[in-house]
């Protein structure tokens, strides 16, 4: 029977329609409609996102999407940010660059997160992609300014070089001079992570001066305050600016220079930097404050009164990062002034002190949740919390999408009732129906996980530390959280039962991290055997897990779904649990 589809369009038309579909999720859905849509879509997908670089091989990605121009790759698990993943674990980008170098000469964008990026990789990028435009390295390591020099020297069409939160080796600023005099296409430069004091201001000023499309410039701590004015005068069109060290001797000429330079920047919407800040120089930025939507003061050791003064000039703030010097009083002021606030992050100024050094409590968070109707994303470090406050916060702000609370001392109870904080966090998940990300802290029993499993249906990422009573807690989460993609757990008494009972769930998630829990080596082996499409990595610096009894808990466990079986670049302290040999053929076939 031959059915003629009266409404089938030529491929070119479908391709044109698909070009309006940018989101990864939507593209994936499109590709599953039928075989011909799958084929058309894969040839015209221009942006590829790989959430776990070990879930798939570069060859497979290139085979399916032969024409992509932009790739985003993520490597290490999130807890690597807090030194829980030993050095050398993995996440090397070089194999990806090597494969793409030959197959995709027109690649324009590479965005990497938590990957190891060597100078060799950067040099290969520079050499291989003639139209390379965007390099974003987020929390990456392994490179030095030598690698950056190669990019600068070769990539004539480079628009973006963003090294946010990286740990690169800064061997001095001469790499900036490798941008040729003819190079003018820079739009975004973020070098705030580089550490060298050897700054070449003339190279920087010349670069900034000739790149008239520059919109984002984030300098690092080595750039002194008295150089800022000159730089700003070369780039009055800046939209996002990060200062260096915001300190200088109090001199009226420096001040007026600076204030004048800021005034000429009519487009500024975002400010950051402010290391070593001297309050007397703050008013220099007042002329731009009313237009600011984003302000990062998380390095600024300012007292509450100075912070309040500053914030009162910024009624249009949507995003604020600040130290807990702001105190409850500052947050109350923020709540009354910044009604458009969407994201707030409050970092601890004295994270290892035993006694509180500032007057920042749960009250500050309650105030903001009450006064800022658009607040949806919070990261808050404090030393005390109560169920009552959490319930109030939840009822005030059911529109939270990200709620990360860190009560600094592990297993801290409700300070008013001395009870666990189960009910408080329970309220958060119950009222905030669109919650996507949650980080727990304080004294918590299995009950909080029961709440989470019951209510947190849109939750995608959950971080747990020093919580729970036993396996039931983990079982609630794995069996109840339908949208869960990433689960990271440390120092919880979760063992084998919940993990093995919910093995299939793990294939629906990107990854699970468990460290200092109670999962035995025997259970890891069993899981590895049962689930060929999971890599069950045991990370243990004490030595081979089979040198200890099978019932011994493993130190760290990282489980992720993958199409390509155990990786080949594991260091000596990582073991991937073997698949059942009869099922091994299944995974080998996927490598072809």
């Amino acid at each position: 029977m031959h059915k003629k589809m009266a409404f089938s369009f030529p491929d070119e038309v479908l391709e044109h329609v698909f070009s309006f579909i940018q989101s990864d999720k939507d593209r994936n859905s499109v590709s599953m409609v039928c075989k011909s849509w799958y084929e058309i879509e894969r040839y015209c997908r221009r942006k590829v996102f790989v959430g776990n670089c070990y879930a798939v091989s570069p060859r497979m990605v290139i085979r399916r999407f032969p024409e992509f121009r932009s790739i985003e790759l993520k490597g290490k698990p999130h807890f690597a940010d807090f030194n829980l993943v030993p050095d050398g674990w993995g996440g090397y980008v070089f194999p990806w660059i090597a494969e793409m170098a030959g197959a995709l000469p027109w690649l324009e964008e590479i965005k990497l997160k938590r990957m190891v990026v060597t100078d060799e990789s950067l040099e290969l990028i520079a050499k291989s992609f003639k139209n390379f435009k965007v390099l974003v390295l987020s929390s990456c390591e392994g490179f030095s300014t030598d690698g950056l020099a190669a990019i600068a020297a070769t990539c004539k069409n480079l628009k973006e070089l963003d090294l946010r939160d990286c740990e690169g080796d800064d061997l001095g600023w001469h790499w900036l001079s490798y941008f040729p005099d003819t190079y003018t296409s820079l739009v975004s430069l973020n070098i705030s992570c580089l550490g060298s004091d050897e700054v070449s201001f003339s190279a920087l000023e010349r670069l900034v001066g000739r790149c008239t499309n520059l919109r984002t410039l984030r300098l690092n701590r080595a750039v002194p305050l008295d150089k800022i004015a000159n730089i700003l005068r070369h780039a009055p069109q800046l939209v996002e600016f990060g200062t260096g060290s915001y300190t200088a001797d109090l001199r009226p000429d420096i001040y007026s220079d600076l204030a004048g330079a800021f005034s000429s920047c009519k487009e500024l919407k975002s400010l950051s930097g402010f290391w070593d800040v001297v309050p007397a120089y703050l008013p220099a930025i007042y002329p731009v404050c009313s237009k600011l939507t984003s302000l990062n003061l998380s390095y600024a050791t300012l007292q509450s009164s100075d912070l309040i003064k500053l914030v009162s000039h910024c009624p249009n703030l949507q995003r604020l990062l600040v130290l807990d010097y702001i105190e409850d009083s500052g947050l109350e002021a923020l709540a009354s002034i910044c009604n458009d606030l969407q994201e707030l992050r409050v970092f601890p100024s004295d994270p290892f002190g035993v006694e509180p050094n500032v007057s920042l409590t749960e009250q500050g968070l309650v105030a903001v949740s009450s006064g800022c109707p658009k607040l949806q994303s919070v990261l808050y470090f404090c030393r005390q919390m109560s169920n009552e406050a959490l319930v109030t916060i939840a009822k005030n702000r059911p529109n939270f999408t990200r709620f990360r609370l860190c009560i600094i001392e592990p297993t801290t109870a409700d300070y008013l009732t001395l009870e666990p904080l189960d009910v408080g966090f329970g309220a958060i998940v119950q009222y905030c129906k669109d919650l996507q990300r949650l980080s727990l802290s304080g004294l918590l029993t299995d009950r909080v996980f029961e709440y989470i499993g019951t209510y947190a249906k849109k939750l995608e990422m959950l971080s747990i530390a020093f919580a729970g009573d036993g396996d039931l807690g983990l079982h609630h989460v794995l069996s109840g959280c339908e949208s869960l993609r990433k689960l990271e757990i440390r120092d919880c008494p979760f063992g084998d039962k919940a993990l093995l009972a919910n093995a299939e769930k793990l294939e629906t998630m990107r990854s699970l991290w468990m460290s200092s829990c109670a999962v035995s080596f025997g259970a890891c082996k069993l899981l590895g055997q049962k689930m060929p499409r999971l890599n069950v990595e045991v990370i243990d610096e004490r030595g081979p897990p089979d040198s200890r009894p099978e019932s011994c808990p493993v130190d760290k466990l990282y489980i992720y779904r993958t199409l390509v079986g155990p990786r080949f670049d594991m260091p000596p302290f990582v073991w991937t649990m073997e698949d059942d040999p009869s099922l091994q053929q299944l995974s080998r076939a996927n490598l072809m």
Partner: protein, 188 residues
């Protein structure tokens, strides 16, 4: 018996041991001195290192740091420190001599965070082993002993005083032959 409980004899009982520790925990460990368990490396009297056996310790000013907690990035912790001023940039260079070695070396005490790192660096530099440090007996089990000359001109055993005090008063280092080092120690 009941009267004993009411009187809460335990609270008033004289005993050796730190407050908060009890007989039960003492029985459970195989070896328990009444002092804090000493780590393997030489350490300053200001115990900044954690001792694994003592999970009931409360040290109000120095806290045992849990790895990766609280969850903040290292670059944030580093930025809370003030930027080094010119004076701080200059190191504390002291001469180091070793008995039997033909020439002296110089090291910058500023680059070390504490005794373990210093001793390791000296061991690497001069190819010797310092042995186990203890407050009572100094360095046990080795031919060579690290000593230093303090501000008063006295030769002292490295490791007895808090690290900060040491870097402030150390004028020179000398790695003595063990036999020469008998009788050295803290002036109590």
């Amino acid at each position: 018996m009941e009267t004993e409980r009411e009187l809460n004899l335990e609270a008033t009982e004289l005993r050796l041991g730190l407050p908060g520790t009890s007989d039960e925990s003492a029985k459970n460990t195989t070896h328990r001195s009444n002092k804090r368990a000493l780590p393997e490396q030489p350490v300053s009297a200001n115990m900044a290192t954690t001792s694994k056996n003592c999970d009931q310790e409360t040290a109000p000013h120095t806290k045992a740091q849990v790895v990766g907690w609280p969850p903040i990035r290292s670059y944030r912790k580093n930025s809370l420190q003030p930027k080094k001023s010119e004076a701080e940039m200059s190191g504390i260079y002291v001469k180091v001599s070793m008995d039997g070695a033909p020439y002296l070396r110089k090291i910058d005490l500023k680059v070390f965070k504490g005794y373990p790192e210093l001793i390791k660096a000296l061991e690497d530099m001069f190819k010797f082993k310092a042995g186990e440090y203890s407050e009572r007996e100094g360095y046990n089990g080795s031919e060579f002993v690290p000593t230093y000359e303090d501000k008063d001109g006295d030769w002292m055993l490295v490791g007895d005083v808090p690290w900060e005090m040491f870097t402030g008063c150390c004028k020179k280092l000398r790695i003595m032959k063990g036999s020469d080092a008998r009788g050295l120690g803290c002036v109590v």
